[in-house]
Each structure stands twice: as C-alpha cells, then as structure tokens.
Symmetry: C2
Subunit: 382 residues, 2 copies
Amino acid sequence: MSRQIYLDNAATTPLIPEVIDAITEFMKEDFGNPSSTHAFGRKTKNTIENCRRSVANHFGAKPSEIIFTSGATEANNIIIGHCIKNLGVKRIITCEMEHKAVLDTVKNMAKAHNITVDYIDVCQKGNAQLTHLEELLNQTEKGKTLVSLMMVNNEVGNILDGKATAKICNQHNALFHSDTVQFVAHDHVNFREWGIDFATCSAHKFHGPKGIGFLYAAKEATIAPLLHGGSQERGFRPGTENTIGIVGLSKALDVAMSNLEKDVAHMKQLKHYFIEQLNTYFSNQYKVNGDVNKGLCTILSIGFSREIANELLLFSLDLKGIAASGGSACNSGSNQGSHVLRAIPVDDKPFIPVRFSFSKLNTKEEIDYCIGVLQELLKKPE
Amino acid sequence: MSRQIYLDNAATTPLIPEVIDAITEFMKEDFGNPSSTHAFGRKTKNTIENCRRSVANHFGAKPSEIIFTSGATEANNIIIGHCIKNLGVKRIITCEMEHKAVLDTVKNMAKAHNITVDYIDVCQKGNAQLTHLEELLNQTEKGKTLVSLMMVNNEVGNILDGKATAKICNQHNALFHSDTVQFVAHDHVNFREWGIDFATCSAHKFHGPKGIGFLYAAKEATIAPLLHGGSQERGFRPGTENTIGIVGLSKALDVAMSNLEKDVAHMKQLKHYFIEQLNTYFSNQYKVNGDVNKGLCTILSIGFSREIANELLLFSLDLKGIAASGGSACNSGSNQGSHVLRAIPVDDKPFIPVRFSFSKLNTKEEIDYCIGVLQELLKKPE
C-alpha cells in the first residue's frame, strides 16, 4: 500500500514549490541580522519590510499594523495578554468552539487577572449566536470587553459573519479579536474596513512554513510584548526574526491571493463532490458536523453512524494511506472527544467523527479513491 | 566598491551549504504536522525527535531536557518566568553585562513579581567576580535564588568559568541559568556534568537559521509555559513547531561539533593575527575591550583612540564593505553607548568601540583587507 492521500489540510498544508524556491533562494542570498545597520543587515531588513508591506496590502492594513510572530498561538497569546494588561479589558466573550490557542489562553489569563469570561451560545449547526453576543454586550456593568471569535472553525468549517460581528462589537464599544487562521488565504478580508481590531494568522495553513505567523493590530496599537529583551518588531515581539519563515509566509500568501477564486472554486467542487459521493454510498449513515451551507470549502467534518463505523476508522484510513483527522491536529488520528463537537448542542446518537480537509492540491480522483476505501472499510448496515 | 567582508558573526552567521541543503531537502520531502498521528504527521514527528536526540547528545542531556523555542530570547523569558512562577525563586543574581534578553526580562519580571535583583561585580577586564557571587549567595535571608550569567559575553567575548559558577550555585542551593548563545558550537559543554540547571541557545549564531533555538532544563523539569493553547513540546511550548528551523538547527550543530577543533583553531589564528596587525599599525592607539586572555576566539572588541577615530568609523567601514558592529546587533552600526561596555569599570578616556567577530568562513586575507581599510580610515596621530 504505497499510495498516500493527504486530506488533513486544516492541520497543515504541503509547502508549494513557489515557497520552497523563495526560501531556498533567500537562504543562499541573504543572511543578515535585520537589526544590524550595516549593508548585510539592511538588505535583510529591506526584505522583511517588503514582506510586511505585501502582507499588509492583502488585508487593507498598514505595514505597521502587522507584527510577525512564531505562529498564531503566540499571536493569540500576545493579543489577549495585551488587551488585559494594556487596554483595561475586564471581561472576555468567546465561544466553547474556539481553538485551544484562544480558549486555554483566555482561561489562563482570566484566572491570573481576575477577568470574567462569558461564552456565546452555539446553535445546532455550530454557529455562534450573534443575538446572544448582543445580549451579553448589553451587560455593560461587566466592564471593558474583548470579543474573541474565530472567523472559521477549524474542526467543522463554519464561517462567522465577521463584518456583522465587528459591527456589533464596535457599536458596543467592545474590542474584537478574530483567530483568522483557517480563513485567510481562502477568502478576502479587509481588516480595517470590516472593523476588526485584532487578527491572527499562521503561514502553514496556506502552504507556507510552520513556526511563522503574524498578528494584525489596528491603529498601530502599542502592543504589550509577551517577551522582553529586544527591539525587534518595534519592541512588540523581541527576538531575532525568523527571516526564512517571513519570506515563506509572504510568498505563500501572494500565491494564494493571486489564485484565490480559481483555487476556491476547485476546493468547493471537491467538497461538493465528496458530499455527493457520500450521499450515493452512505446515505442515512452519516451526517455533516457543523453548517454545511455555511462552511468553508476546505473543511468537511463528517459523523459516520456507529452502525457502519467504529473508533478504528481513522486508524484504518491511515493504514490505507489516507490522512484525515478526528478534529484539530491535537487529536488527529484519535477519536478522543473533540471539545468543538461537544460544544454543538445536538442530541443525535453518537457518531464517529472524521474531518476531511482539502487544499488546492487535492484532486477529484483522490476523492474517488477515498470513497472507494470508505466503501471497503465501512460495514454495510444489516 | 563591490567587495563585502562580514565580520559581525556574533550578531548572526551565514547559513552554510550543509544547512541550506538539509532544509531544502526537508521542505521537499516532509510537511506533516508533528501533532497529527497519521503517517504524514508521524514522519515529521520522527524527524523532530531525531533532531532533539541529536541536539541533546551534544550536551550530555536527555532528549526530554531539550525544548525547542523560537530562539534564545523566548527561551530566556520562559526559564526566568518558570523559576519565579514554579520554583519559588525570590531573588535573581545576574550581571549588568548580560544580554538584554536576560537583563530586561529579569527587570520586568522582578518588578511584576516583587523579586529582589542583585548584580554581581565586574572587574576592569569585564569578568563577573565569582567571589562576589559567593558573598551574595551567602545572604541566605534573601530566599530561593536564581543565578543568571552568560557563558560568553556577546560584546566583549569574555568566557565565564561555567563549571566553577555551577559548583558555587549548587553549593548554595541556588539555581543556575546560563545564556550560552555565543558559547555553544564553539566549545564543548556537558550541561549535566557541569551542573547547569538551565541553558539557552539560538541556531543563527552557529550557521543555522534565525527564529529557532532551544532551552535545556535539567531533570526534565516541568516548565511553566509562557504560551497557552497546545500540547507541543510536551505542553511546555505550545504552537505548531518550526520544523524547518529545527532541522536546520540540528544540522548546523552537527556540522559545528564535528569540526569544532579545526574551526576554533582557525578562528583563534584569525583573532591572534588581527591583534598582531593592530599592534603593528595602531600600537598605543587602541585597546581590547574585555579580557583578551579570557576571550572566545569569535569575538574581538576594540576601542580605537579618539585621536585616530571618530563616531563615523563603523559607517565608514560599512561604506568600504566591511560589516562590524558597535556592540550587540541592537546597536550594530551605531556608536550609541553599549550597556556592556558601560558595565566595565575602566577610567580610560573615551574610545570608539568596534566589535569584530569571526566565523570559520573568514580568511586571513579578509583580515588583511580590513586592516588596510582601517589604515585608510584612521587618521595618523599628529
């Protein structure tokens, strides 16, 4: 069994040749420390600032509003800490379906700084309820509020109405942070026009390298740095820059944005076709987790009925060369409970969850292969 | 003027072909998320764990004692925070000559957590005084103590007697952390045998990539993570791993350690030759900052007399294609005061500081060229 099919693109994506080439070329040409003011340093500094400008342009942001970090986890930690330490936030409204990088950070910082945390209601389709958000924001006695809601859920793919959410936050004088990790490079977003205060991204979700991401902070906010000891990133993120990563991130984003419509159309087709095939072969024996009509093209979370599937399904798929996951990468390959699926209030009998997630590199033929393997693996109901 | 000579290797070093090749090959072959448990993830996880084992082996450490970080700045921040939050440290003894990544972190955390900070005396040659360390450690009423002293000073190159320092700390039941950024890959160190509790490193100081480093924490200590939201690095450093960086770091370290004696001999020769030439052409018009007899082969910090040099010297060197610095990269290329040089209690008339720092890639011929340029730039004393 030598064939390998990668359908776990929400966990991470393959590097594309354009990014590999950009990094390789950069490694051969450029090694200066961006903080050095001699020619070697200036050259690298120039490269980084060009990357920053390019990244900012894709989101209607100013270069000074983009701060490179080691990834979205660090970026989320910086922003949530900043809001509490610098901006007087006394309450955070978030959702049980957030990524742990937000959820755990909120829980830890709330405990350390005596912050109230409210969780927004989720409907049966897994959508955060904006009417509930408004209700919560009307409780003005709870003090300055940060709303942290992800733009696309990483497990079920549901898309938040980011503009509407930002508008509600702005109307209630609350800050709005969005983990946009799964969203950017798969759709257009103008942080400024939408009214988003803080956003976070990770390059490896759009065919860039791991260990590099950025945060957007509107209005050139003075960020409370998480680290101390250097003036890099205007002092907001000390430590010598991951120059290779920045070059790779910028290139990956450029490629993604310049082919966005075509790639998205392709992935939509794949997802649509996958569902069609599931209907053909496993009708009534599966459900889509989350809101199939409001889901991003990259993510398809399926629950297979226990009549035809068991906990070994992901393991069996892996043996057949198909990479999928049970949820986020943390519990990929296992069927341990997902906090996201638990947060969706459905009263179905237990299903076996499998997240298939697509990139522009996947093909219809791979879906056919995957459906074929599923037919082999899943028992016919008696 | 097209010639460019790089003599700022204490700020950062060029990537070597072995590292570029290792990274390029890895990028083409391997992209999984190490947290994914399917075949793609396991492959990458395996690569990372092999790197960790290899890194640990170079320092007599267990793999579980090595935690990859985005660099030494983050590593220093994690360790100092951990000692205060988890290990009951009430006092920190450090030195005014430390890198800002330690000094600023200590200052910030001391303020936030009401920690006493004592600074160890420095002699005229820039060496931290271990007799004073003992005196300070005898003040046992100040509570559980962390000693943070760098193994090699990044501006003047002075080497700490790491074994003796660790012994004193151990005898006084104090924890010992050493920023070993400039030291590792230029000499052998066995963290365990020496009795070091915590050490920090950055790959880009030994021809590896920027944005990746590691910390050593003895006895598989439970680190208080700085970031929240993931179980990577056993939960001590959440966030998807910088896989490219880890591969590059490991390869750079392997190459450095396998050629260590030869490379060090070469750099010693360069430094010795540089000083010889300075004596020949600028005798009595310069001094060596720090302890020339106790300095690492990579770093030569010179103070040129104001009779022959002025504040534009670094700028002029840069125009002639020679990259050197005024101190750490933060103030490289400028002559703004160095906190390190200020910390050395000398009462000389002001000198113009220039740090030349070498790597194995530099040549005697480059030193000749540099000396030639210095002869052009420096005024003959009247």
